[in-house]
């Protein structure tokens, strides 16, 4: 197992290399460079100074030297300087990564909390009114884009009913570390997390439902019935355990997907996380932030895949990795 993980990490090195080259080149290919943003903020800057700054920042060096410097810095935790925020990207991210992780974790937990019971009810009692209701919900969920749903939620529960705050991650007045602080965080988290989860969950409900329907008619379930196993145990021990397998494997990918999803959610709810920052930075052409974020989500994808494989091998005895 350890050997497997080590080897997978080893394989990740060339993958990461390729990814970094790609990202670097894309950043280079984008119109303008790190100073263009500066220029926009300060149009009176004279070309002479601009050129000097370019020289000083090494922006006139050959591309491969720039790349090596970029990677070297990155490995040392230096992701460059954000020009719009005038602070190191690392610090900028550090202030927001906690929020995104919190939001993603909340969405993930809610997603499975909703999906598992609904999927089971729907798969076990197919063609009942409950099943039809659940399937109906999942179709609507499929058809609704996340950002529209999030906007509706925001309008209804945030503005119209006023149950939840409409922006930020915490009230400014409360003092950090107090109970009120955590309650306020939770309060701010609820609406974006719920919107994300309600849309995110339909895929898993559908998947679980069809897995259960498939497993129900498998031969080993007949074997279990022929042994005289009571119906409840048939479901628990034989059908559900086998149906959960692919869902468990999904978990790793799910984590990756959340990072993409948070771009919309965080922007709509003005939730200060990485996704919101990403969108802002693109609009402001803050390339050092954008490249850092793309790189992070790339790493997260690779880790998510690895995680999926590890989870699958942990729950399925047929997949044993030496």
């Amino acid at each position: 197992m350890l050997k497997f993980i080590l080897r997978r990490i080893l394989i990740m090195i060339p993958q990461l290399f390729l990814l970094s080259v790609l990202i670097f080149l894309l950043a280079k290919a984008m119109p303008g460079d790190a100073l263009t943003g500066q220029l926009a903020a300060n149009p009176k800057m004279d070309p002479q100074t601009l050129e000097e700054m370019r020289e000083k920042l090494g922006l006139n060096d050959p591309v491969h030297i720039q790349y090596i410097r970029w990677v070297k810095n990155m490995l040392q935790g230096d992701l460059g300087l954000s020009y719009t925020h005038q602070q190191p990207v690392t610090d900028l991210l550090a202030g927001r990564v906690g929020n995104t992780v919190l939001l993603s974790a909340a969405i993930l937990v809610l997603t499975y909390l909703i999906a598992i019971p609904l999927g089971i009810v729907s798969g076990r009692w197919t063609d009942t009114w409950a099943d039809k209701l659940i399937v109906g919900y999942s179709y609507i969920g499929y058809a609704t884009p996340l950002f529209i749903f999030a906007l509706i939620m925001l309008f209804v529960f945030g503005f119209h009913l006023g149950w939840f705050p409409t922006g930020g991650s915490v009230d400014i007045q409360v003092e950090e570390g107090t109970l009120a602080y955590y309650l306020s965080k939770l309060n701010h988290l609820m609406l974006p997390a719920l919107s994300g989860a309600l849309i995110n969950t339909v895929g898993i409900i559908q998947y679980l439902r069809s897995e259960i329907i498939d497993t129900k008619v498998k031969d080993f379930v007949k074997t279990a019935r022929a042994k005289g196993v009571p119906e409840r145990q048939i479901y628990w021990r034989h059908i559900l355990r086998n149906s959960f397998l692919p869902i468990a494997a999904f978990l790793g990918y799910e984590i990756t997907g959340l990072i993409g999803g948070s771009v919309f959610l965080e922007s709509i709810y003005s939730y200060p996380g990485l996704g919101q920052l990403f969108l802002q930075s693109i609009m402001q052409r803050d390339y050092s932030v954008v490249t850092a974020l793309v790189m992070i989500s790339g790493v997260a994808t690779l880790v998510g895949t690895l995680l999926s494989d590890i989870i699958l091998s942990a729950v399925d005895p047929r997949i044993r990795i030496e």
Partner: protein, 341 residues
């Protein structure tokens, strides 16, 4: 009648729902299984032999199946029992062996736990005792190193070994009736021979009755005491195994025997049964169901309401057409069939 038979199947009809209507896959079948005998149900796919077996075990999904008639097992009608009452009989009194050992075992449970599972509900045994018994069972079905195999998962075993595990599950509580649904069909021929010998041996030791469902007449010839030949949901001939193979009467039995290539004797040409088995919803509901496939035998030779009659002690044949049946002189070798359904 001195002794109660083990299982009495009385006028059993098993119907499946197809596009809203029910069609009988097993139609008016009556059959008695005595203690300590092996009865084979033979026929081609769709003849109803598996549907019959599954109905004894109550394994048809109730929402799409109608089972009528009576299934008296030791005097109790299985069809009148609730699921939990049936669960006291399934696995304890009646065991079942399935066709494909690859899919018949839960991939996520160890062999030991799958065998013990049936004991859990039928025998109250301490854990120690249960494990000992399981390992003895594994030994009994011919698995080498049973202590190790106890902890293995199904995918770690070969096909033949898996089928032995399936058998061990079926006999875990020493049932008085075993239903074996194509128990050797998915296996290689050398493994098939071993499993047949194992089943024969177990049958001798435990005096269990076996209902053997198969399409393979070779397996029937080797295993069965009595044979019921099924065609289109009905039993068309029922007799002891020697009679079926040496003095068959019904046209279907005779045709079937002529159509199999044999490894023992070389035949020049195989007999071909004309036409096809009609799909369930197109079966004729009156008259001899085999009539369309022996068109050279006049309609007046068939009964209008064919009955299964005892033509000599222990030998039952359906319809009177057997008295007039002969193989066509010139086997139609180039028959064109326009029977695309």
């Amino acid at each position: 009648m001195s002794k109660q038979p083990l299982l009495e199947i009385e006028r059993l009809r098993v119907s499946f729902q197809i596009e809203g209507a029910y069609y009988a896959a097993v139609d008016d079948v009556s059959l008695v299984i005595e203690e300590n005998e092996v009865v084979a149900l033979v026929g081609e796919s769709g003849c109803g032999k598996s549907a019959l077996a599954l109905s004894i075990m109550g394994l048809h999904p109730p929402e799409k199946t109608k089972v009528e008639g009576r299934l008296l097992f030791k005097g109790t009608n299985l069809l009148s029992l609730s699921v939990s009452e049936l669960n006291r009989i399934r696995g304890k009194e009646i065991g079942m062996i399935f066709q494909d050992p690859l899919t018949a075992l839960n991939p996520l449970m160890t062999v030991g736990r799958q065998i013990e599972e049936s004991m859990n509900y039928h025998l109250r045994l301490p854990a120690e005792e249960k494990k000992k018994r399981t390992i003895r069972l594994l030994e009994r079905v011919g698995i080498p190193e049973p202590e190790k195999v106890y902890h293995r998962y199904p995918h770690e075993l070969s096909g033949g070994m898996r089928q032995r595990v399936v058998i061990a599950i079926a006999i875990a509580c020493e049932p008085s009736l075993l239903i074996a649904d194509e128990p050797t069909t998915a296996l290689d021929v050398t493994i098939q021979a071993q499993i047949m010998e194992l089943l024969k041996e177990l049958q001798r030791q435990m005096k269990t009755s076996i209902i053997l469902i198969t399409h393979d007449l070779g397996v029937v010839a080797e295993m069965a005491d009595r044979v019921a030949v099924m065609y289109a949901g009905e039993i068309v001939e029922l007799a002891d195994v020697d009679t079926i193979f040496h003095r068959p009467l019904h046209p279907y039995t005779r045709s079937l025997l002529q159509s199999i290539p044999s490894a023992q004797v070389k035949k020049d040409r195989l007999h071909v049964i004309q036409g096809i088995v009609p799909p369930l919803h197109k079966l004729p509901r009156r008259g001899c169901r085999f009539q369309p496939r022996i068109s050279w035998i006049g309609a007046e030779q068939h009964e209008l309401e064919p009955q299964l009659r005892e033509v000599e002690p222990g030998h039952w044949v359906r319809c009177t057409c057997y008295r007039h049946f002969h193989f066509p002189d010139d086997q139609m070798t180039r028959e064109v069939d326009y029977g695309a359904s």
